[in-house]
């Protein structure tokens, strides 16, 4: 196996692209920020050598818009476009299947795979049954760490249930786009800091204490529903 013994960190961005993300500026901000995020990550040699990035977009359905990739192999970041509902369940189900396939593939190539880290971003309440897929994901051996970010109409309690590390919601519904810009900046910092500290099987996901325009919300155990 060519990569036997090499370590790799997997990062997944799950982006809401439901119809409401257009009017509130979320779509525009994500599409503006993704190339910046790419440039930031590609300029860090440790991130380039040791991490992989995948992006999933969801509305009615979910789709992998960037397969798990080394950042320097990405010539052009994908974009998102407003479309339909906010089906968390579809996103989480695809995320679970994608992580399962990615981790299995990386392990089969000989990589030592750290537990994946997910950045979940949404502007609305879920419009489908998401708890079943979520429980399935958390019971999987490859279950990821999750950071959740909500803007506009996102429900803090729901995001607190989805996150396993930390959840944030925007403090001003009218400034969803600006809040998402802060979120994207925090994602870049988290990826860089986490990659630089990952060593010998131990990784501390560098969770931001504060995100500009966002406030932290308490995590909620799904079992307490």
């Amino acid at each position: 196996m060519e990569h036997a013994g090499q370590e790799v960190l997997l990062f997944y961005m799950v982006c809401d692209e439901s119809g409401s993300m257009g009017p509130n500026g979320g779509i525009e901000e994500i599409n503006r920020s993704l190339p910046e995020l790419h440039a930031t990550l590609a300029s860090d040699p440790l991130v380039v050598d040791k991490s992989r990035l995948c992006i999933i977009a969801f509305s009615d359905n979910a789709e992998v818009i960037l397969p798990l990739s080394k950042v320097t192999d990405i010539a052009d970041m994908p974009g998102v476009h407003e479309s339909g509902l906010t089906n968390y369940g579809a996103a989480i189900d695809l995320l679970t299947r994608t992580i399962e396939a990615d981790v299995a593939s990386m392990k089969s190539q000989g990589y030592k795979v750290y537990r994946p880290c997910v950045f979940f971003m949404s502007d609305g309440e879920p419009t489908d049954d998401w708890e079943g897929p979520y429980r399935t994901m958390l019971s999987h051996p490859f279950r990821p760490h999750i950071l959740a970010f909500g803007v506009d109409g996102a429900d803090p309690t729901v995001l607190g249930k989805i996150a396993t590390l930390k959840a944030f919601v925007g403090v001003d519904r009218a400034k969803a786009g600006r809040a998402l810009a802060s979120v994207m900046g925090s994602i870049g910092k988290t990826i860089i800091a986490s990659t630089s500290t990952a060593q010998g099987g131990i990784v501390n996901i560098d969770v931001p204490d504060d995100v500009d325009g966002m406030m932290s919300v308490p995590l909620v155990q799904l079992d307490e529903l």
Partner: protein, 359 residues
Amino acid sequence: MGLLRGRRHHHDDLAGKLRPNGGQDPLIGMPPTPDPEPEEKIDAASHSSNNWTTGHLYGEKTTFGKAPWWTSKGWWKASGDHEAHDIRAHVGTVADLAVAACSLRGNRHRTTGDPNQDSFSIALATNEDGAPTHIVACVCDGMGSAEHSAFGARLASIAVATRLAESVHGDVNALFVDLSTHQKRFIDRITELVLDSCGSVPGSPPKGTRLQDLQTTLTFAIVEATEPLHARAALVGSIGDSPLFVLRSGELELIAAGKDAEDAVFSTATSGLLGATAMSLATVSLAPGDGLVLTSDGVGGFVVHNGQPTALGRDLGQQWRQPVGLLDFVIDLSFEMASADDDRTAVVIWSRNQETWPQ
């Protein structure tokens, strides 16, 4: 929440574009594509250029292997530490033993301008006539989360090697029993020495530095340096995750510490020397021609995977079948492998094989 279904992306196509010659992993229907820069093995002889920063390549080329260290990108930063130790190396013989030791600053610390946080120490025990009886080798890997771990590792390795060299007399089995019985006292003494050095040694952190800010792993070996006809005994010990191997017939056999992810995902905890209450101890028999290899996990963590040697492990085993030249040893440790960005240290002690070694 949205109600409209619109066009998929703001770009012309439907997904992010990968570079045409990129090394995309074969995932989810994506066929593997060739790396833009083909794999190569760098011959030691090619290192006459001052461009040299990496050794043999395993897998894809890394950022650090693609450009000289003085690139304007500034990802190879000078350290303000008094002893950054980009390279520290030592070789020598004692009776029928040969020892090579080397420590290299890893890519992670190159990017941050921090010093090498690994350290090694070699000490000799002598008899009443001053003749060497044992060689003591010690490898310490300062913990990344500890602010002054470079200093902690350096002081701890010296303190442990010195103390063990003073303690071993005759058969290492006697020291094994003694250390097993009094290991906490031994560790407490080392911890005390390291803490007391703060503020009193040039370049040290201030007096009162907390133990956790100096924390380090420990792996050591004590090998009889007499000239036995058959096997000789070695005492090995460890606290934490710095792996130790026996080198036999060109193969590395893991005998202590290390980690090898067999769980669903890769995760282990590392314990430290300072303040510990116990250590792992064992005795090993070395036949003529065998070697003992002490490493930090920046090396040892990449030579075995799922119980099998990696390509690097196989190469190092073969390369170190018998002692190698000083620069060759440095180059061996300068292997290029993505994600192997930690500091790297290895100490190899070879037991002479009378039949194959030059007289």
